[in-house]
C-alpha cells in the first residue's frame, strides 16, 4: 500500500515548496497573501483531519473543537498571562491535544462510524457553547480582541522582521513553515510502524489485532497528533486574525469546509487535502460577489463528489483515462 516516495514525487514536492516560497518575492499584494495564508491554515487543518478520518478510518466530525481550543487557549494566555505568542501557540496546541485524548479515548472503543460522528460533533458543540457562555473570560460572541501579534526579531541578511497587519509577508513564511512541518510530521508518521498499523487497522481491524497491533494506543497516538496540528493551526489563526468569536473559531461551518476540502481533494492521500484547501479557498475568493451562494455551492459540491468521484479530484486523471481507454 505504501511505496517509498519516488524521485519524481520529491521533485513535485520541492517545486511546490519553491513556488510557495517565491510568491512574496513576486507580489506583495496583501489580499493575495491573505488568501494564501488562509489556504495554508486550512491546509494544515484538512491534512490533520485526513490523518484521522482518511488514513485512520475514524470519521470524526468534531475537529473544529481542537481548532477553537488551540485558538482560544493561545489567545487567552497571551492576553491574561502576558506570555509571548511564540510560547502560547504550543500551549494552545497542547490543550487541543489534551481535549483530543479526552474525546479520543471513549470513541476509540466504538466501532460504529455513526456513533463516532455523533459524539465528536456533540463534543465540539459543547466546546463552542462553553466558550460562548464564559463571557467574563472569552467575551462570548462579542469577540475576543486585542490578541497580541507575534513579536518581531532580527534575522541576519533580512534585517528586522515585524508582524503587523500591514505586512503579511512574515505571517506568510511562518505559516508556510508550519504547513511544511505538519505535512512532514504526517508523512513520517504514516511511514512509521504506527502508520502501517493504522492502515492495517483501517483495512482489517480484526486481522491487525490478532497479529498483535495494539489498536488503542496507535489510534490514540494518531488522534493526539492530529489534534495537536489542528490546535497549532488554530493558535496561529488567533494571532493572525487577532479577533476570535465562537462562531468563527469553533463553528460547524469550519468543519464542513474542511470536510469538503478533504473530500474534493481526495481522502487518504497526502496531497488531496492541500489541493482541496487551495481550490476551495481560491474558489470562495473568486466568488466573493456571490457570497450568498458559497455554502450552497459547498453543499452541492460535497454531494456531487461523494456520488460521482468518491476518491476526490486527485483521482480524476485515472478515472478519465479508464473511461477513455474503455471506449
Amino acid at each position: 500500500m505504501f511505496q517509498p516516495v519516488k524521485p519524481s514525487q520529491w521533485l513535485v514536492i520541492a517545486a511546490a515548496i519553491l513556488v510557495m516560497a517565491a510568491v512574496p518575492l513576486v507580489t506583495r499584494n496583501s489580499y493575495l497573501l491573505h488568501v494564501l495564508i488562509l489556504t495554508m491554515i486550512f491546509g494544515i487543518f484538512a491534512s490533520a483531519w485526513n490523518l484521522v478520518a482518511g488514513f485512520g478510518g475514524m470519521k470524526t466530525f468534531g475537529h473544529h473543537a481542537f481548532f477553537g481550543i488551540g485558538a482560544y487557549v493561545s489567545a487567552l494566555l497571551s492576553i491574561k498571562a502576558g506570555w509571548s505568542p511564540w510560547l502560547t501557540i504550543w500551549f494552545g496546541a497542547l490543550a487541543a491535544t489534551g481535549a483530543g485524548l479526552f474525546i479520543g479515548l471513549p470513541i476509540l472503543r466504538i466501532k460504529s462510524m455513526s456513533h463516532v460522528a455523533i459524539v465528536t460533533l456533540g463534543f465540539a458543540e459543547i466546546v463552542r457553547i462553553v466558550i460562548s457562555n464564559l463571557q467574563t473570560i472569552t467575551r462570548g460572541e462579542l469577540g475576543l480582541w486585542g490578541i497580541r501579534p507575534f513579536e518581531g526579531f532580527t534575522l541576519p541578511f533580512f534585517g528586522e522582521i515585524t508582524f503587523s497587519p500591514a505586512d503579511k509577508v512574515p505571517y506568510y513564511y511562518l505559516i508556510l513553515l508550519l504547513l511544511i512541518g505538519s505535512t512532514a510530521v504526517i508523512m513520517l508518521l504514516m511511514r512509521s510502524r504506527t502508520g502501517l498499523s493504522i492502515i492495517a487497522m483501517r483495512d482489517a481491524e480484526d486481522a491487525a489485532e490478532s497479529l498483535g497491533v495494539n489498536l488503542t494506543r496507535q489510534k490514540l497516538l494518531v488522534f493526539a497528533v492530529s489534534a495537536f496540528l489542528v490546535g497549532i493551526a488554530g493558535a496561529f489563526y488567533a494571532h493572525y486574525i487577532s479577533i476570535l468569536t465562537p462562531t468563527a473559531a469553533v463553528g460547524i461551518d469550519l468543519m464542513i469546509l474542511v470536510i469538503a476540502m478533504a473530500l474534493v481533494g481526495g481522502l487518504s492521500t497526502f496531497s488531496g487535502p492541500l489541493v482541496g484547501a487551495l481550490l476551495l479557498t481560491g474558489t470562495v475568493e473568486l466568488l466573493r460577489d456571490l457570497d450568498q451562494y458559497r455554502l450552497l455551492v459547498y453543499g452541492a459540491m460535497i454531494i456531487l463528489i461523494v456520488m460521482f468521484l468518491p476518491k476526490g479530484l486527485t483521482t480524476l486523471g485515472p478515472v478519465l483515462r479508464k473511461r477513455f481507454a474503455s471506449r
Binding site: 470519521k59 466530525f61 474525546i103 471513549p106 470513541i107 472503543r109 466504538i110 460504529s112 462510524m113 455513526s114 456513533h115 460522528a117 455523533i118 459524539v119 460533533l121 456533540g122 463534543f123 458543540e125 459543547i126 457553547i129 462553553v130 460562548s132 457562555n133 460547524i252 464542513i256 470536510i259 469538503a260 473530500l263 450568498q292 451562494y293 455554502l295 450552497l296 459547498y298 453543499g299 452541492a300 459540491m301 460535497i302 454531494i303 461523494v306 456520488m307 468518491p310
Partner: protein, 291 residues
C-alpha cells in the same frame, strides 16, 4: 426548587421531550432500517416548519388542513431525497461514510437553498389553541397539552404501523436482514424509500407542533438534529422505543437542569449526558449489550 415547581418542570420536560422523541425516532427509524446516519434530518424539520408557515400564515389555510398537507409534502420530499442521493450510494464501497457525507452536503445545501428562497427572518405560526388549564398550582397552556397529545397519537400510530401492518413487518424484516427479506419478496429499495419518507413526516409533525413556540428560520434544523443525536445515543442508535424513552428523558433532565443552572447551559447538559452514556453504555441506556 419547590415541589410544585419541580412537578411543573417535569411536565414541561415531558412535553418538549415528546417532541425530541419524534425527532429521535425519525433518525432511529432510518438508522435502524438502513444503517444510514441522516445528517439532513434537521432539514426535514426546518422545511416541514416552512410548509406549515406558508400554508397556514401566508395562504391562510386553516391549520387542521395545513398541517396534514405539510406532513404529506415532507413525506414526499423525504422519498425524493432518498431516491436522488442515498439510493445510489447504498451498498457501494464505503457507503457508511459516503451516506453520512452526502447527507451532510444535503443539509448545507437545503439550509442555504431555504435561506435564498425564504430569507433569513424568523417566522412564526400563531397558537393553534388558546387557553390555560389549572390543576392546583400548576398552569398548563392548552397549546402545550396539544403537543403532548399529538406526540402520543403519532407514536401510537407509528407503533401500530411497525407492529401490525404488512408495511411495518416489511420494514422490520429489512432492518433485521435485508437479503433474507429480499428472498421472501420484500423489495428493500421500496422499503428504504418509504422509511425516508416516514422519517421526513415525523420531522414535519414535530415542526408543525413546535412552530408556534420556536421560530422557523433556515438554521432551525441544526439544533434539532443535535437534540435528535443525543436522543438516539441515550436510547441506543436504531431503536424506535429507545428513541421515545430517550426523548422524554432528555426533555425532563434538560428542564430540571436549566432550572438549577440557567438556560444557556441547556445544550451542554444534553451533550454531557450523551458523552457520559458513550463512556458508560455505548449501546444506549435501554438497549442490551451486544454480544
Amino acid at each position: 426548587m419547590t415541589f410544585s415547581l419541580l412537578i411543573e418542570q417535569i411536565i414541561n420536560g415531558l412535553i418538549i421531550g415528546s417532541m425530541y422523541a419524534l425527532i429521535g425516532s425519525g433518525l432511529a427509524l432510518v438508522y435502524g432500517t438502513m444503517r444510514v446516519l441522516n445528517l439532513a434530518h434537521g432539514e426535514f424539520y426546518m422545511l416541514g416548519g416552512y410548509f406549515v408557515f406558508f400554508l397556514a400564515v401566508t395562504y391562510g389555510v386553516p391549520s387542521y388542513l395545513a398541517i396534514p398537507v405539510a406532513i404529506v409534502a415532507t413525506f414526499i420530499l423525504g422519498m425524493l431525497i432518498q431516491r436522488l442521493t442515498i439510493h445510489y450510494l447504498m451498498g457501494k464501497e464505503g457507503w457508511q461514510f459516503s451516506t453520512i457525507a452526502a447527507t451532510l452536503g444535503l443539509s448545507i445545501f437545503l439550509q442555504n437553498a431555504a435561506l435564498l428562497m425564504f430569507g433569513e427572518q424568523f417566522e412564526s405560526v400563531p397558537y393553534y389553541l388558546n387557553g390555560v388549564i389549572e390543576i392546583g398550582s400548576i398552569r398548563l397552556p392548552l397549546q402545550r397539552l396539544l403537543i403532548f397529545v399529538v406526540a402520543i397519537v403519532t407514536i401510537g400510530a407509528m407503533t401500530f404501523i411497525l407492529k401490525k401492518t404488512r408495511l411495518g413487518w416489511a420494514i422490520r424484516a429489512t432492518a433485521q436482514d435485508r437479503d433474507a427479506a429480499a428472498v421472501v419478496g420484500i423489495p428493500a429499495e421500496r422499503i428504504y424509500l418509504i422509511t425516508f419518507g416516514l422519517a421526513g413526516a415525523l420531522g414535519a409533525i414535530a415542526a408543525a407542533m413546535l412552530a408556534p413556540i420556536y421560530a422557523i428560520n433556515p438554521w432551525s434544523g441544526l439544533p434539532i438534529l443535535l437534540k435528535g443525536f443525543v436522543v438516539v445515543i441515550l436510547g441506543g442508535l436504531g431503536s424506535f422505543p429507545g428513541a421515545i424513552a430517550g426523548g422524554l428523558l432528555l426533555g425532563v433532565v434538560e428542564a430540571i437542569g436549566v432550572q438549577l443552572t440557567s438556560s444557556e447551559w441547556r445544550d451542554v447538559i444534553g451533550f454531557a449526558m450523551m458523552i457520559g452514556v458513550i463512556w458508560w453504555r455505548p449501546w444506549g441506556l435501554f438497549g442490551k449489550k451486544p454480544t
